[in-house]
Amino acid sequence: MLLSKIGSIAPIMMWNLWCTRNKFVFDGIQPIVSTTVSAIYAQLQVSQRAFNNIISIALVRPTHEVCWQHGDNDIMVLNVDGSALTNPGKAGYGGLVRNFEGKFQFVFYCSVGLSNILHAEIHALMIGIKLCWKAGYKKLVCFSDSLHVVQLLSKKVSMLHHYANLLELIQMYLVREWNISTHHIFREGNSCADILAKLGVKHSESLVMMHQPLSCLSLALLADATGVSFRT
């Protein structure tokens, strides 16, 4: 509350100083410091009363407890993420597969060149699902931290969409003969994929796939496996 109180006083002061100056120039009314100061505080109070509700509504956000999600027994978990330095700018993606206990299977990451974040997110999911199909998994659950992508996949793709081809490809994988579902997860529950996506941005445009965990992932993997949750 303090910030908005002091932050809005300077503009009000300038406005009032300008008004008193005009009164002096055009009507010849001599400015009195104490009157101006009290006018400023009166106006500040008025605008605070008017805008108080709006500010407090905007500040209240629901909090969630977020941790890495795993499914039922004998299911594979795919986490993917995209990353872009600027929009539009250099973008990349990454992802990893674990089993339901958090046991590591493989990672992948790659750059998509100059593009935007949505492209990277869609590409990440597409490549992740493709690699899992090749690996022969029968039960898979996919998590992406982009709600937009998950929503796009849930309905029929408009053929005008810039990434309609990629989305259509993913949807074709989704109806194949395996048990697969896509879900949205908050960024905090997707930290491993986030690290890999940032690696992907710096990497070249050839896909990297590794079956050993990277050293930079170890802490995040441990946190996920033990079920550490974050409050957003």
Binding site: I12, W15, L17, R21, F24, V25, S47, L160, A164, N165
Partner: protein, 364 residues
Amino acid sequence: MRYEAFLKIQDKVASKLASWKGRLLNKPGRVTLAKVVLTSLPAYTMQICWYPQYACETLDKTVRNFIWHGEKDRAMHMVGWNKITKPRKLGGQGVRPARLQNTTLLGKLVWSFVQSNKKLCVSILAYKYLKEGNIFLEKAKTDSPIWNAILKTLDVLEDGFAYKIGDGDTNMWFHPWIAKHPHINVVQNISPDQLCLKIKDLWVDGKSIITELNLPISHEIVTSVQELKPTIISTIADTWVWKDNLNGEYTAKSVYHWLLSRRDDIVSLEKWNWIWKLPLSASVQFSIWQVCHNSIPSKHVLHHRRVNVSATCPCCNGEDESIPHCIILCPRAVAVWSGCGFLDVSSLCANNPSSNMEISYKCY
């Protein structure tokens, strides 16, 4: 169409103005009224007619006179039209110039031709005037003002459309897919089997093989093809899309912003949104906006604009009354600032009031 045809619209705008009590509103109120009502009055005719430049300018003039004068005959336009028409987050007021609005709205008609829409008016016009089979290839002027308007608009919007490759089942020589004109017109010596090449044949497993094919096309085309990197998929047909909107649809909003962003004076480096987020009334926000544009009518600014006044501050008769002096540094102002608890005010002002005010706003 001649200018006289648009006089009716101008009369309508003028009669609306006459019935409003412009002087009862303050400036932000007039800006809002102008944005909402004045610029939307011609919206219907703008969807089918290309307004003459003079008609656009007259409309713009009416709007800006209303913003600055209200009902008076003359007043100084403190902030230029080019600045007012910028979006609010880039330091303008988001007022729409008639020319851009006209182009944007006419573009909707262009879009239905680009999409080969099944609307009745589209089929009739296409049957009569679409001689080449593709709207991007039409150049000839006709006797129809609507068709001429469509072609003029297409000329402006052409770069905004892109051909999205789906199954790649389009012939690469006869379709204007990458350069907005067919390559067949600019190349010679194509062998018959090269002539059958489709777009999808330029990629094998996602890798571009255009250089291996040794096609007689220019280097620029090769580079722009290599940059495409499409994912070819057999279930989606090739189609035209609006480039600037991720879902590919032509929306007036996205096209208007695209047209604005092509103006060279649009720089997004300066930050302006903080003004509109201040929890203050619109009139205070407006005057802060004016201060940041260095254009409230202090004596120094008036003198600079060749009004016949002296530039000295009328309160202290000492220095020139520049804007920082007027609201911060004048002894009268310093007294008020210190009365409110700001003892060191010189840090508030420097050459650029806009960035400094933002910094000081954030600090407090």
